[in-house]
């Protein structure tokens, strides 16, 4: 096929900017300063297990919350009249036009002890509550920043489900819930899996959200990796080992999740 040649630019891109860096990470992770093979750094990663677990845990929570919020939104969006859909989609995308840092920064002032939310609580005689510098704030930041990434794939899958499907289900005597669990959800599984991937992967490796909203004591893997490169102890080998372990963990989680896809599609 001649069409193959059109993929050449991307192939080159992939080799130079994805494959080679990946190999370099692996190389750094398994060698020491003198360039000799060592397992030291990989095994050193073990002592940070609690931080890995926290990252996985928090990003899992964030992913689930995103899914719960996004699913009905995407469904309602997909059932709207066509011309309204465009406008609504734009509103969903709107926050993404703003700089990521700025959005997170804004939450800092909203959640602060003298922030707007606590101020409002104060007016009705409540609080102040400790909102910022908690793991809850980190999850909130993740949900806020990555929600559109969940809505969009869900929407694009649901948009293709024809209304006649629901009519057929109803004709065959499905209750409301049966329609949901036997028709809508199975049909939207590809959207769910790619939505989860698109939220979970960036959430697990974020570092700026945890730094700004977590008060520096809710360390995530991203912070840990950043510290190895830009911290006091410059240790790219340990940092590379951490990224490698993180990649393996993500890979495992993603393969497990993809098994729920009926067509065994690999959505990575």
């Amino acid at each position: 096929m001649k069409l193959k040649y059109f993929s050449a630019p991307y192939l080159v891109w992939m080799v130079v900017f994805i494959l080679v860096p990946l190999l370099m990470i692996a190389f750094f992770a398994f060698t020491n300063d003198e360039g000799r093979f060592t397992m030291k750094y990989i095994s050193d990663v073990g002592q940070y297990a609690n931080i890995f677990v926290r990252s996985i845990w928090l990003s899992l929570i964030a992913t689930v919350i995103c899914l719960v919020i996004a699913y009905p939104v995407a469904f309602i969006l997909s059932r709207m009249e066509k011309h309204k859909q465009g406008t609504m989609l734009m509103i969903v995308m709107l926050p993404m036009w703003m700089n990521f840092l700025l959005r997170t920064y804004a939450w800092m002032t909203l959640l602060g002890n003298n922030g707007i939310i606590n101020h409002l609580f104060g007016m009705i005689g409540l609080g102040p509550f400790k909102l910022i510098n908690t793991s809850g704030a980190v999850v909130l930041g993740m949900v806020y920043n990555y929600l559109p990434f969940m809505i969009l794939p869900l929407y694009s899958v649901m948009e293709k489900i024809d209304n006649s499907m629901f009519e057929a289900a109803e004709d065959l005597g499905c209750s409301y819930f049966q329609t949901l669990f036997r028709v809508i959800i199975p049909l939207s599984v590809p959207g769910i899996t790619s939505g989860i991937t698109m939220v979970f992967v960036p959430a697990i490796s974020t570092f700026i959200i945890s730094r700004m909203l977590g008060g520096g004591s809710n360390l995530l893997v991203g912070d840990l990796i950043e510290m190895q490169f830009l911290g006091n102890a410059y240790n790219p080998h340990l940092g590379a080992a951490m990224s490698l372990v993180l990649m393996v963990i993500i890979l495992v989680i993603m393969t497990v999740m993809n098994q729920f896809d009926p067509d065994d599609q690999v959505l990575m």
Partner: protein, 423 residues
């Protein structure tokens, strides 16, 4: 109607008075500008700077963010612009945010800089790793202005590699309206005071945080002793429950907005924050502190060493040094620039603490060994994520078992599916 009229006329009068005040301000600023620009022309030895004129040379300068006078404020000098005008050398000026960023950039080898301005401990690290080169001080006659006590510091004992640019101390910024401890009684233990739990901010970098604990425990700020470092980490662990957040630049917002009451920070930045929030004050704790020096160096990889030296010399011109220090609010090691400062600033205990105090109670960072750095980093990470240690013992293995089970489930499911397909 008459009343209204008189009200309006009074208002108008007030306005015009305000306007004239503003005008007066402007003209004053203007005069200042005149003065400053006149001063910049008085370069002692202009011939020195003309060597590279018309050769189309450019140098890359890598400095901290917001750490030079840019001429953006009225009446200030655009230092790089003046240099270009005087010498014909083009300055490519870029910023970094941390010493470690600078280090990673240089170590990576991709970038080439001619002048960099790292801090003390980073300078000693770079000397050790052969990343910066000795400066030819014959090309920097203005080095004579650098105060005696800022020469030959521990990080560069023979003063062969660096020319001090600014210095400052670390102290405690606190809210005077709520904390009613007399200023002279305030010491580092305020950061451990349980009465202000959850109102205390702390440095989010191990070196500065450990330094505070080390002062309190009476250790050297440059200790590499494992036991001492562990004690310091223990001290920081005790503090953790009172700490609202570990922050660096976020201090500006949090203290400025009154979200926190107490924070340790660098003197120059503290002054900037205090400009926004009147209820804040700054104290250099009497039990001692860290004195930091940022100094100009030339990396090994510099392509234009002589032009770089010319730039460093230019930065030490009295008028230029004054313009910079006036803009960035840190303290200057430059005698002539210091003499040009207002008396009020010269005697400020924040920017220029007592000489004797500096000599007896402050020390500069030098580079630690790789092992000590790694230990400090590990202790720091451990301390910061210590909170949920009891849970973690269980979660990690449980998670692994969970993963194994899931994988097993997946494999079995696939196996069954395959069988089904066969029939």
């Amino acid at each position: 109607m008459k009343k209204l009229f008189s009200f309006v006329s009074v208002a108008m009068l007030c306005m015009s008075m305000l306007a004239s005040c503003a005008e007066a301000d402007v003209s004053e600023d203007y005069e200042e500008e005149e003065e400053v620009t006149q001063q910049t022309v008085t370069i002692e030895d202009p011939d020195y700077y003309t060597r590279f004129k018309g050769k189309g040379i450019s140098i890359n300068v890598y400095n901290w963010g917001d750490y030079i006078s840019t001429g953006a404020d009225e009446g200030t000098i655009d230092v790089n612009g003046e240099f270009e005008k005087l010498t014909g050398i083009k300055v490519n000026y870029t910023n970094f945010a941390t010493n470690e960023e600078l280090y990673a950039k240089l170590k990576g080898g991709a970038a080439s800089y001619d002048v960099i301005i790292p801090s003390d401990y980073m300078i000693s690290k770079m000397i050790k790793e052969d990343m910066i080169q000795p400066i030819d001080f014959d090309n920097i006659p203005n080095f004579k202005y650098i105060m005696e006590n800022f020469r030959n510091q521990d990080y560069d004992p023979e003063n062969a590699y660096s020319v001090p640019y600014t210095w400052g101390t670390v102290g405690i910024m606190y809210d005077t309206t709520i904390i009613d401890i007399p200023k002279e009684d305030i010491d580092w233990d305020l950061l451990w005071n349980e009465d202000y739990a959850d109102q205390i901010l702390m440095f989010d970098n191990p070196r500065d945080a450990f330094a505070i604990a080390e002062i309190m425990l009476g250790y050297s700020l440059n200790t590499e002793n494992e036991e001492e470092l562990r004690h310091a980490a223990e001290k920081l662990r005790q503090q953790k429950k009172n700490v609202q957040a570990y922050v660096m630049d976020e201090v500006f917002d949090k203290m400025g907005a009154g979200d926190a009451l107490i924070a340790p920070y660098y003197a120059g930045d503290a002054l900037t924050i205090m400009d926004d929030n009147d209820s804040l004050d700054f104290v250099v704790p009497k039990s001692g502190t860290n004195l930091f020096v940022d100094a100009m160096c030339i990396p090994k990889s510099a392509k234009q060493k002589e032009a770089a030296e010319m730039y460093i010399n230019f930065m030490c011109e009295p008028d230029i040094a004054f313009a910079n220090i006036d803009y960035i609010c840190y303290s200057t090691p430059h005698q002539a620039a210091y003499d040009m400062l207002d008396e009020e600033v010269q005697s400020s205990p924040i920017t220029y603490p007592d000489q004797q105090f500096i000599k007896d109670k402050t020390s500069v960072f030098v580079n630690l060994s790789d092992e000590a750095n790694q230990l400090m980093q590990d202790l720091w990470t451990e301390m910061k994520s210590a909170e949920d240690e009891n849970v973690n013992k269980w979660i990690a293995p449980v998670f692994l078992v969970f993963c194994v089970f899931l994988m097993a489930f997946v494999l079995i499911r696939r196996h069954i599916k395959k069988k089904k397909d066969i029939f």
